[in-house]
Symmetry: none
Subunit: 200 residues, 4 copies
Amino acid sequence: MTARRRPRQERSQQTVDRIVAAGVRVLAQHGYQHASTNRIATEAGVSPGSIYQYFADKDAIVAEITRRLVDEFAAALTPALRRAASRPRGEATRVVIEAVLDALGQHADLLRAIVDRIPQAEQVATLQDVRTRLSDAIFNLFLIQGIDADEDALTRATWMIVEVSEHLTIRYVLDAPAIAREDFVADLERVIEGLTPTPR
Amino acid sequence: MTARRRPRQERSQQTVDRIVAAGVRVLAQHGYQHASTNRIATEAGVSPGSIYQYFADKDAIVAEITRRLVDEFAAALTPALRRAASRPRGEATRVVIEAVLDALGQHADLLRAIVDRIPQAEQVATLQDVRTRLSDAIFNLFLIQGIDADEDALTRATWMIVEVSEHLTIRYVLDAPAIAREDFVADLERVIEGLTPTPR
Amino acid sequence: MTARRRPRQERSQQTVDRIVAAGVRVLAQHGYQHASTNRIATEAGVSPGSIYQYFADKDAIVAEITRRLVDEFAAALTPALRRAASRPRGEATRVVIEAVLDALGQHADLLRAIVDRIPQAEQVATLQDVRTRLSDAIFNLFLIQGIDADEDALTRATWMIVEVSEHLTIRYVLDAPAIAREDFVADLERVIEGLTPTPR
Amino acid sequence: MTARRRPRQERSQQTVDRIVAAGVRVLAQHGYQHASTNRIATEAGVSPGSIYQYFADKDAIVAEITRRLVDEFAAALTPALRRAASRPRGEATRVVIEAVLDALGQHADLLRAIVDRIPQAEQVATLQDVRTRLSDAIFNLFLIQGIDADEDALTRATWMIVEVSEHLTIRYVLDAPAIAREDFVADLERVIEGLTPTPR
DNA sequence: TATGAATGAGGATTCATTCAT
DNA sequence: CATGAATGAATCCTCATTCAT
């Protein structure tokens, strides 16, 4: 469970927002271990006690931050996915990749705060969710497209595509290697294509 | 440098080893933030003060752990690299991947302690080193094999191959997805092949 | 600056006062090096953490103690200085000496804690300040009284008078030698008189 | 008690000397509280354990340092005192002051290490000795010179002269104020003269 | 005697959390 | 609801001292 109470009043909502925003800033600047609740409270212009009106403990703040990243990411992605549905396979892949890069880029700070500042093993909960949903989506996509290789092959392809895509897009956004975006997209598309099982 | 003093007596070496071993266990079990020096000392059967005979501070222990992982990994890999040198390209790739999986698998605990338990942003200099050396090696390999596409393409291919290979092999070893090893190797080989620039 | 936050509530002020008071007692009893923050906290009936609500570190407590001593000393001295202004030189000197002895005597414990328990080299900025202000005052007094020997002589006289007066009054108060106060005052007055440059 | 054993063998004596010398350096550089025995041992090129062959504890080192300062100071002073015996009063005073300044100046580092780096309250033992001996000498001098004011006056004069002389000469040597030595000596001589009881 | 590895109590400081106001 | 003072266990680290070799 994340939030202690889901505040309806506007002022409360504002307080929560300010805490979360402060959390992101403090996390980005000081890292997970030095992101003390007191610092977050100060940064948010809120008393330490107030934090515990809305969050059960420190980790709940991080969980909420993650949840928001995921939500906003999903929201930013939705239209692209819809658009992709009506395109031929190769183009669809490209459209989605572009959309992912855009979405990640818009929340680079948040992303860095979570991905680079929190140990993997602690990120689990919410992020694992996303990955699962992503995997399911891709797996279903295979089925829809009539790519019915044996199940093991589909599972494998799904796993590899998810891992590669997630990792590469995140690192591309966060590390900004000296690679032109169109080249990166083309390469990634080719990799995904190569990993997609061929219909029998 | 990591060590405070380079121990001469045998007892010292044992103590250092016990501290490092305890560090790995504690890291693996409790994660970076809860890996307190006192816990490590207790786990090592050593007094807290003893740690500071050999390590400048807590991070130095982590650094040493990382260094050992890297060293042992490199050692385990060397013969395979030599063997690979005399094989045709495709087979060489496969031989190296297999060797990497073996090497990583032998130190899965260590690997998990570092990769999953320490925030990326703190993962020490030593690891960056490895990545750099790996990149250089691959880049040179391209040149040696007469693959002289333009430099940008080589840089890009290097970056993508390193990121993909590192991430996939590590996740494969640590997450043990339900994928047959030979299939995984074949897939990864294919991805790498696909990313390798074609000679003009 | 010394305080971390300037307390608004009354309770805060009380806590600060209790910490400072405990600091004085602990300093007096155990000396600077054994005046641990934990001991001070215990003596103050306060948790260790509370100290750091109001003081940046241990030295800040000492600095605050010193500041208070200096302030109270200055306050106790002011009326005497005013009274002295309207007296002939010799008597004025005597009046001031008496006032200094009174002022120091009122804070003997504090004085001992600082002067005898803290190494000279660490005796904080605040004390240097006082000495500087004292020197300036005396130097100006010379000028006002039309004692215009050459500057070197004034500087020298100032230095010697400050050193002698400070040291003798402090030691008289702290060591309580078997000397009648009126005799001590007379002697010191004579010494100061002897060190005062004669007007040309 | 200071030394654990008074070593006769040459090598032992050398070790003690090195420890003491290292103690002075470390004290001067780091101050009393940060002058750890380990640091002293390292600086002396000796093992920590060896220190405890020759000194009961850390304070014994400081005590020994103090003792040496006092001894060397006394040694440096003796001839001057002898010379002074045959001079008229005023000149004798001057000769002694000059000798004191020389003696202190030769051991400025040692002096600073002790006087400025160790809390007064901890200097007691050995230094109090010197002061006592000095007081006795002056008191006797008064008697010898037939200055037989009442005992209280002698006691008072002795106390004041000792305090003033000790403090001023030490501060003059350590703080090096912008005062010509001959002027300083003349002033101090005048002060002492003024404090000396007049024969009835 | 000398060594230096080992000790462990103790020190300064932090920070998630509570609770009286 | 909000405040912010207070808490106190836990953290990293130091250092005088001991003792097996």
